[in-house]
């Protein structure tokens, strides 16, 4: 009987790494040696054994830690980019209040007006504050990207599903249609302290593209001033408000045709919208890029063009498609676009209570 075969030679034999003569010698030896055959079998079984190792998936707290680190990194980068940003934003900050922000007082004035006039003006106000007085976008996903988008309120879902309203990214709808019961929540909200329990009002549908899929959003306004320590709570509250917009839920598919009409207007619609309207068109035009950057294909449950510590900000709530955990809240500075997202704060929401 030949000498036992070393494990190394067995391995080389398996790899076809031996000369034909040497391989034949190994085969002959294995045929007559149970011990070396057992070694050869063990070696052959190793890849399967290694493949069977089970390790825990990434713990959420570690994932959140990395997300936060990345968000911070992103914030630093974007902060650098801000130095080169258009003067418009800086001018707005210098004056303390960007011109596209509709103050509570303005909103209240509109809200106090009675009857039909009040409704029309509320619509005008809505058109004017799309840029950031505090519209939130309620997500519904398009493009068959199966998701959790149905967590959005019924009204927004029906509108988005009925018809894709916005043009391609970059040509977001600018004008807001002047009909449908959506105006009512706008009025109601205007009369209520920001962040209170008013039903949010919904804006035009915006869509963005990610990895070939189209995701759609419907703006609503929550008028929340988010604070660092309360980001999670406030975002949860905003989500709840958006999901059940209160007694006035008259927004129906009728709104959709109007919204798509606005979308077809594109940039020109923004130009005709006056100073605030122009800015909202610009903001809306940047949103697809911003969402592509921040959400990156996740389900976007909420995008609130609100304020963060008094400064214009976009609050974005994302979740992995189809998941109930991993819901993230991002506060990014206004001006977020495809070229940069300055993350002001980040929060991971706990899983919903069963």
């Amino acid at each position: 009987m030949t000498r036992h075969v070393s494990a190394e030679k067995l391995a080389r034999s398996r790899d076809g790494d031996l000369s034909r003569a040497a391989a034949r010698r190994v085969a002959v030896h294995l045929a007559g040696c149970p011990r070396c055959r057992a070694d050869a079998d063990a070696l052959a079984g190793l890849p399967a054994l290694l493949a069977s190792t089970q390790l825990p998936p990434m713990p959420d707290h570690l994932a959140a830690r990395i997300e936060t680190a990345l968000a911070t990194e992103s914030a630093h980068r974007a902060a650098g980019a801000t130095e080169r940003s258009p003067a418009r934003l800086r001018a707005g900050r210098r004056s303390g209040l960007p011109r596209w922000v509709v103050t509570d007082e303005q909103a209240r004035r509109h809200a106090r007006r009675p009857g039909p006039a009040r409704r029309i003006l509320a619509t005008a106000a809505a058109a004017a504050i799309i840029g950031g007085g505090g519209y939130a976008l309620v997500a519904t996903l398009g493009g068959g990207s199966g998701s959790t988008a149905n967590t959005a309120s019924g009204s927004s879902v029906s509108r988005s599903d009925a018809k894709p309203a916005a043009g391609p990214p970059g040509s977001a709808p600018a004008a807001r249609p002047s009909r449908s019961g959506l105006d009512a929540p706008a009025v109601r909200n205007g009369g209520v302290r920001p962040g209170a329990h008013a039903a949010p009002d919904f804006g035009p549908v915006v869509q963005y593209r990610h990895d070939g899929q189209v995701h759609r959003f419907t703006p609503v306004r929550t008028s929340t001033d988010y604070l660092p320590a309360e980001l999670g709570q406030q975002a949860s509250a905003a989500l709840a408000r958006v999901r059940s917009p209160g007694p006035v839920s008259t927004a129906g598919p009728g709104h959709t045709s109007g919204a798509s009409g606005g979308a077809s207007g594109g940039a020109s619609g923004g130009a005709s919208g006056g100073a605030s309207g122009a800015f909202s068109a610009a903001t809306l035009a940047q949103l697809p890029g911003c969402l592509g950057r921040v959400a990156g294909g996740q389900s976007v449950l909420l995008v609130d063009l609100a304020t963060f510590q008094g400064a214009p900000a976009i609050i974005i709530v994302t979740a992995p498609p189809g998941a109930t955990t991993g819901t993230q809240v991002w506060a990014v500075a206004a001006g977020c676009s495809s070229s940069g997202a300055r993350v002001l704060a980040h929060h991971q929401l706990p899983p919903p209570a069963p």
Binding site: A7, E8, L10, A11, R12, R14, D15, D17, D39, A42, L43, G45, L46, P47, L49, L50, A51, S52, T53, Q54, L55, P56, P57, M58, P59, L62, A63, R65, I66, E67, A69, L70, E73, S74, R77, D211, V294, A295, G296, G297, Q298, P320
Partner: protein
């Protein structure tokens, strides 16, 4: 966000290479920030996937080598295994967890290069060519690292193979009868 899209796959590489969840997360974080700095706008193509994997694997290997240079961490490995055991126990109380821990412990005895090759090829099922690209070495080098690594693992894992074979037999018997 690129991290979210690749998170689980990159985690699978990092946790198997390093064993310690905290350290794996640290490596992943270093790698993602490094990737973030080097590429402003990510594109979801396969080249980026490979590139990301390479950055993560290198971050893990750096840590492995640093660990190897500090003999004091030998004791930490035991803690790591205990943490993992607790983790795995909560998730899946089956005996497979023990096997996984033994495999990881055996893997730790190999040189980093062999560990990385085996993690990618045998544990995670990457094609040898893909692993070669991720590791930045030739296909032949990956093959020989895997081969030598398996040879070195053999004495550590022979008993596991028997155990897992026995369990397999047992479970197929269970499947074939009404016996509990």
């Amino acid at each position: 966000m690129l991290f979210r899209r690749h998170r689980e796959r990159l985690w699978a590489v990092a946790i198997r290479t390093l064993g310690d969840p905290e350290e794996a997360a640290d490596a992943l974080q270093d790698a993602m920030i490094s990737a973030f700095r080097r590429a402003g706008g990510f594109r979801g193509d396969s080249a980026v996937t490979t590139w990301l994997h390479r950055i993560v694997v290198n971050a893990c290997l750096d840590r492995l080598r640093r660990r190897a240079a500090r003999p004091a961490t030998a004791g930490a490995d035991q803690q790591v295994l205990e943490i993992l055991a607790a983790d795995a126990g909560q998730r899946d109380p089956s005996a497979d967890s023990d096997t996984s821990l033994d495999v990881l412990a055996a893997l730790r005895t190999l040189p980093p290069g062999q560990q990385a090759a085996l993690v990618l090829v045998d544990m995670l099922g990457y094609a040898v060519a893909d692993a070669a690209e991720v590791l930045g070495v030739s296909v032949g080098t990956v093959k020989s690292r895997c081969s030598r690594g398996r040879v070195r693992l053999l004495p550590h894992l022979a008993h596991l193979r028997n155990r897992s074979a026995a369990r397999h037999v047992q479970s197929s018997q269970e499947g074939g009868s009404d016996q509990p």
